[in-house]
């Protein structure tokens, strides 16, 4: 069954890597729902957050192929229960409307929107949250003079992750110790063996 997966990729910060990763999806005709690239908790290491709608079997294989790329340090995939995620949205609304219509003000407060810019002619609000919440606000604002709207890609934190510092140390050692687990799959013995 297809479901939403968030793929987190730690990479070197090199030119051309975005293309190398993007074509892994397009080659398999998988649509990227959302893509964010940003610095990570480790200096010099980049972090991609990619959201796709796929079956787990495909995602698992895809993540291994991504991790195989020379400049990729590590790739993970998680379903929505395993992550905390947010998207950021900006809304430009006519200032007159906000002043005139009590409903607008109430709505914005209800959705926890904050004013970023207030001008004579327009006001820009910001909210962050899950896509559904953002979509709902866009829907109701649409009828009430929404001039412009933009939403960012998803950013996500993996619940079970201990960050990348330790992993990076392993990677930087010339010879990794024999006890290092290179692939999570290896540790799921019960699932691997059918003997």
């Amino acid at each position: 069954m297809k479901q939403e997966f968030t793929i987190t990729v730690y990479t070197e910060n090199h030119i051309g890597l975005l293309n190398r990763i993007a074509i892994m999806f397009s080659r398999r005709k998988i649509n990227i729902e959302s893509l964010n690239t940003s610095p990570s908790e480790v200096e010099g290491i980049h972090r991609f957050t990619i959201v796709i709608h796929e079956v787990e079997e495909v995602v698992k294989k895809l993540v291994r192929q991504i991790e195989k790329q020379v400049e990729v340090l590590k790739a993970y995939y998680n379903n929505n229960d395993e992550i905390v995620w947010q998207e950021l949205a900006l809304y430009k609304v006519s200032t007159d409307k906000v002043i005139e219509d009590v409903k607008v003000e109430r709505l914005l407060r209800q959705y926890g929107a904050r004013a970023v810019v207030i001008r004579k002619d327009y006001t820009v609000f910001e909210t962050s949250g899950h896509r559904e919440e953002i979509n709902k606000l866009v829907e109701v604002l649409g009828d009430l003079g929404l001039i412009e709207f933009v939403r960012s890609a998803r950013v996500a934190i993996i619940n079970a992750s201990n960050g990348f510092y330790e992993k990076l140390k392993e990677f930087e050692e010339e010879k990794p110790g024999s006890e290092i687990v290179e692939n999570e799959f290896l540790d799921k013995q019960d699932e691997v063996f059918s003997m």
């Binding site: 070197e12 051309g16 293309n19 294989k61 020379v70 400049e71 990729v72 930087e172």
Partner: protein
């Protein structure tokens, strides 16, 4: 187990390469150009022979090469595609990294087919392309093309250099990535300004570690133990031998493994020659046109042990009918290959040069005579129905198989056989005899027609003291026949056999079997090949009668220098056995 651990440790230390570095022409701390740095890198990496074609954006490097011809042997090809296929052939027979130079724009785009071929067949290559000046990038300058983005999906790694200071470290990285782990092609694009730029040279340091790149997954001995246990319990074990054994230089380790376990082994197309054809445990070839026994018995074995192979669709046929009854042990250096096509019961990550000896130490010495006999019985059946008629036809018309049969008799299986793509390729892979490893050079995964002639040139430079025979169809030969010019200019001793059936035979076979004999554009006309060869000062002959076959092949092999022999074979012969598309391996047809 402790002995196995020790063995693993010992093997690890052994596999560390100790190299004596060849000396370059310039010392560290001197000012040199980026171009000279490129050539210094090649010398330091032990490159001797390489291939290329000059042009505007790579001229500074070719200018520097003028002073390096005493240490570096550059072979001028006739087309960049020929250059890269030659580099592939070189890498296959020598086990070294193949190197090719090309200029920007069309020079670089002409490499793409070879890159795709090398990527899918895991051939180690370093390609160096010239690029327009950095300040012209993105301006649609003359012969500018976005090589990095064009080649990204078909390279293991690629990189654009715009500053000469980067050249030594980037080339060190390129060679390291190309040859380690699962090998593959690397492309380095160097802008013209970087080639000209003078910089303070710090010497060449080979690369040994990249933090984001782990060429070998760690060996997990508990999985090897589990694998050994499965093998020890197996009544009908069956080993699949892939090119990984050759790439890992683990032929001896593989032999020790199957010999101790008494394990019958069949080879993929690219795994051929890793063990001798007449080894008693070698039961033939896998795949669509492979042998009868290995295909049928894949679906009867109880433990399937795949070593360095990737379960290509031409090997497995329909996946839901493939070895469903068997426990699968998969040894591979590339973690992404495990479970990609066939679910592994026990995955054995790692370099088979390290994992096979540990596994061998843990398995019991055994024979499986009854099981092995099943392969022999099916072999006999295949001989009756297919092989005897192919190798010793009763009719007047010659078959491809009989040419191979006589060739085997004359070379005794010591030649390097380079093939193109199509019917002749399958016939050659089925019937050619191989005594030593790295003797089979062909385009496996990509199926590149036009591969054989240039690859044979490279194969010869990679194995200078061996006989190299290129077997090519009339269609494929016409795709890259311009490389006869390279053979002429550099006196490359390549024996060329054109198996001419006046058809694009494999497509015609499919049209006959699956498209109602609607022969749509497979009727191909050929020039007088012998006359073409003569135009290039290459001796040649064409034969169409069996009586002349042996003497013609002998004449070809005895001839000093290159030789072209055209053999007219049956127009509508088919390659059998065959696993039809969409069928399981056990549904293989003998006729």
């Amino acid at each position: 187990m402790s002995s196995a651990t020790e063995l693993m440790k010992r093997k690890k230390s052994e596999s560390r390469e100790i190299s004596t570095q060849p000396k370059g022409k310039v010392k560290a701390q001197t000012s040199i150009s980026g171009s000279v740095a490129v050539l210094e890198a090649l010398v330091a990496e032990g490159v001797t022979d390489f291939f290329g074609y000059p042009g505007g954006a790579i001229m500074p490097i070719y200018d520097a090469l003028y002073d390096y011809t005493d240490t570096l042997n550059h072979i001028l090809v006739r087309h960049e595609q020929g250059g890269i296929h030659a580099a592939q052939g070189y890498a296959r027979t020598s086990g070294k990294v193949g190197v090719v130079f090309a200029t920007s724009g069309p020079g670089a785009t002409n490499l793409v087919t070879g890159l795709a071929d090398a990527q899918i067949d895991s051939t180690p290559l370093v390609c160096i392309t010239g690029q327009v000046f950095a300040h012209l990038l993105g301006t649609d300058a003359f012969q500018e093309t976005d090589v990095i983005n064009i080649t990204t999906p078909v390279t293991k790694w690629n990189y654009q250099v715009t500053d000469a200071n980067e050249i030594p470290s980037v080339l060190a990285k390129a060679f390291y990535i190309a040859k380690t782990g699962r090998p593959g092609p690397v492309l380095i694009d160097i802008t013209k300004n970087a080639q000209i730029q003078q910089f303070n040279y710090q010497g060449y340091k080979p690369c040994t570690h990249i933090r984001s790149y782990r060429p070998k997954p760690n060996v997990r001995k508990e999985y090897i133990q589990d694998a050994a246990e499965l093998i020890n319990q197996a009544k009908k074990p069956f080993v699949l031998l892939g090119q990984g054994v050759i790439l890992g230089k683990a032929e001896k380790e593989f032999r020790a493994f199957i010999e101790k376990g008494g394990l019958p082994a069949a080879s993929t197309v690219l795994g051929l020659s890793a063990i001798p054809t007449d080894h008693p445990l070698n039961v033939g070839m896998l795949g669509m046109h492979g042998n009868y026994g290995p295909n049928v018995l894949t679906n009867e074995c109880d433990v399937l042990i795949a070593v360095g192979m990737r379960f290509d669709d031409r090997v497995t046929g329909r996946l839901d009918k493939y070895a469903k009854q068997a426990k699968v042990i998969h040894l591979d250096i590339d973690p992404a290959e495990i479970d990609k096509n066939v679910q592994a019961t026990v995955p054995v990550w790692g370099d088979c040069k390290e994992t096979l000896p540990i596994l061998t130490a843990l398995i019991e010495k055994k024979d499986h005579p009854e099981w092995l006999n099943k392969f022999r019985e099916m072999q006999a059946e295949e001989e009756d129905v297919v092989i005897n008629d192919e190798l010793h036809p009763k009719g007047e018309i010659m078959t491809m198989g009989e040419v191979l049969d006589v060739l085997n008799e004359l070379t005794k299986g010591d030649a390097v056989i380079v093939t193109d793509v199509g019917q002749h390729q399958m016939v050659a892979c089925r019937y050619a005899k191989f005594n030593q490893t790295r003797s089979n050079v062909t385009s496996g995964g990509l199926g590149t027609m036009g591969f054989a002639l240039p690859a044979a040139i490279g194969a010869k430079f990679g194995a200078k003291d061996r006989t190299v025979v290129a077997i090519i169809g009339d269609g494929g030969f016409q795709m890259t026949l311009q490389e006869l010019g390279t053979i002429m200019q550099f006196d490359v001793d390549v024996k060329i056999i054109i198996l001419n059936n006046n058809f694009l035979g494999m497509v015609r076979q499919w049209q006959q079997l699956f498209h109602d004999k609607r022969y749509s554009f497979v009727n191909i006309t050929s020039p007088d090949f012998v006359a073409v060869a003569k135009g290039y000062s290459i001796a040649g002959k064409s034969i169409s009668k069996r009586e002349g076959l042996k003497s013609a092949l002998q004449e070809m092999l005895d001839h000093k220098g290159s030789y072209l022999l055209e053999v007219m074979v049956g127009k509508e012969n088919n390659v059998f056995p065959m696993v039809p598309q969409g069928c399981g391996v056990a549904e293989i047809r003998l006729k």
